[in-house]
């Protein structure tokens, strides 16, 4: 996917600049892009290391496990067919908790483990189960308590109040999450009914 988009962007750009006749700007941009990418990485390096370190403390000290316990009652209704003591459910809570804390890199390993567990529970079928759909959809709508990277980025670009956007972010991601779950659950219910009808026949 990204292969086509990336090459598409380059082709369109070169084509456009030939038509518009600003080739000089384009070759300058090509050289500058390397430098600006590296300076972007340097800005990110400090923040990323600092928070990865602090989050490591959170996971080693049991802080994340504690949060996972708090969030598990909220997640139970979304996965009615999963046993709360199962490895799959435990991985899901850890994944959601890490996502809430903005720990993408911690969330991913738990998410992958959860998918594998659900795959086994679903009989290793190549069609996604209802739980898988709900889980992945939940992961694509990012609910995050503290968008720390975003805040740091806003600060480095001269925002007077880097975290003033936090409440709008919560509201907007909650809306997205609710819509995603509503669609996923509606389709799940429909297909459950279709299955049930098939059984009756």
């Amino acid at each position: 996917m990204l292969n086509y988009i990336w090459s598409g962007i380059i082709i369109i750009s070169v084509f456009c600049s030939i038509i518009l006749g600003n080739g000089e700007l384009l070759s300058k941009a090509m050289i500058d892009s390397g430098a600006s990418a590296v300076s972007l990485l340097m800005t990110m390096a400090g923040i990323l290391c600092l928070w990865s370190g602090i989050m490591k403390i959170a996971s080693e000290s049991g802080f994340t496990t504690l949060l996972a316990k708090i969030f598990s009652p909220l997640l139970r209704p979304l996965f009615p067919h999963l046993d709360t003591n199962s490895e799959a459910f435990r991985c899901i809570t850890m994944n959601v908790t890490s996502n809430l804390l903005g720990l993408g890199s911690t969330a991913t390993p738990f998410g992958l483990k959860a998918m594998k567990e659900m795959y086994i529970l679903g009989g290793k079928n190549d069609t996604a189960t209802n739980e898988m759909v709900v889980f992945v959809v939940m992961n694509t709508a990012s609910l995050q308590l503290l968008p720390s990277t975003l805040g740091a980025l806003r600060q480095s670009y001269g925002s007077n109040a880097p975290f003033e956007i936090i409440v709008p972010v919560w509201i907007s991601s909650a809306c997205a999450l609710v819509v995603a779950l509503m669609i996923a659950c509606t389709f799940n219910c429909l297909s459950n009914r279709r299955e049930a009808a098939k059984c009756r026949l």
Binding site: I5, S13, C16, S61, V136, L150, S172
Partner: protein
């Protein structure tokens, strides 16, 4: 509000002390992992910043934005965020680079800057996450996952414009 981040870090450190974790050693391990993550994403960022810079300087971005602008204006969203909204579900670092260029061009506290910030905070790289999670278990028929996820992304876009208007203007 500005105290949120330091206080949050402090709570975690204090919790770590009480649970007898050797906080600084663990911090170093985590920070090293952060550095590794940075190295992993570095090529992606360099490649995408390159593509985005080309798109901007060739004038292609302007052409595309002008084409989408009437529709965007109809729905009431700032035209500066159109490219970012289009790239968001596909590439996190690409849309991140666009977020930065919005900050540079309009300022972080401008209307476009705020909408872009809220959008960045409330949506995910849908295609990437979906491909990764289903890819790891060999599931081919993903049913309604993409439909639900992309509708959620669009909801986040609309909601970010509405909330920024409500909160700041």
């Amino acid at each position: 509000m500005s105290l949120v981040m330091p206080v949050f870090a402090c709570i975690i450190v204090v919790f770590g002390l009480f649970s007898k974790t050797s906080v600084f050693d663990v911090f170093l391990v985590g920070a090293r992992e952060g550095l590794q993550t940075l190295l992993t994403i570095a090529p992606t960022i360099i490649g995408l910043v390159f593509a985005v810079e080309l798109l901007k300087s060739s004038g292609a971005a302007e052409v595309i934005c002008n084409a989408v602008e009437p529709a965007a204006a109809l729905l009431g969203f700032p035209k500066e965020i159109v490219p970012m909204a289009l790239l968001r579900p596909v590439s996190g670092s690409g849309s991140g680079a666009l977020l930065i260029s919005i900050f540079e061009d309009c300022g972080a506290d401008s209307f476009a800057g705020r909408v872009a910030s809220v959008l960045a905070g409330s949506s995910e790289t849908t295609f990437y996450a979906t491909a990764m999670y289903f890819g790891c278990v060999n599931v081919r028929n993903i049913r309604h996952t993409l439909f639900a996820a992309l509708t959620a992304d669009f909801t986040a876009l609309v909601a970010s414009i509405i909330t920024v208007r409500l909160f700041f203007y």
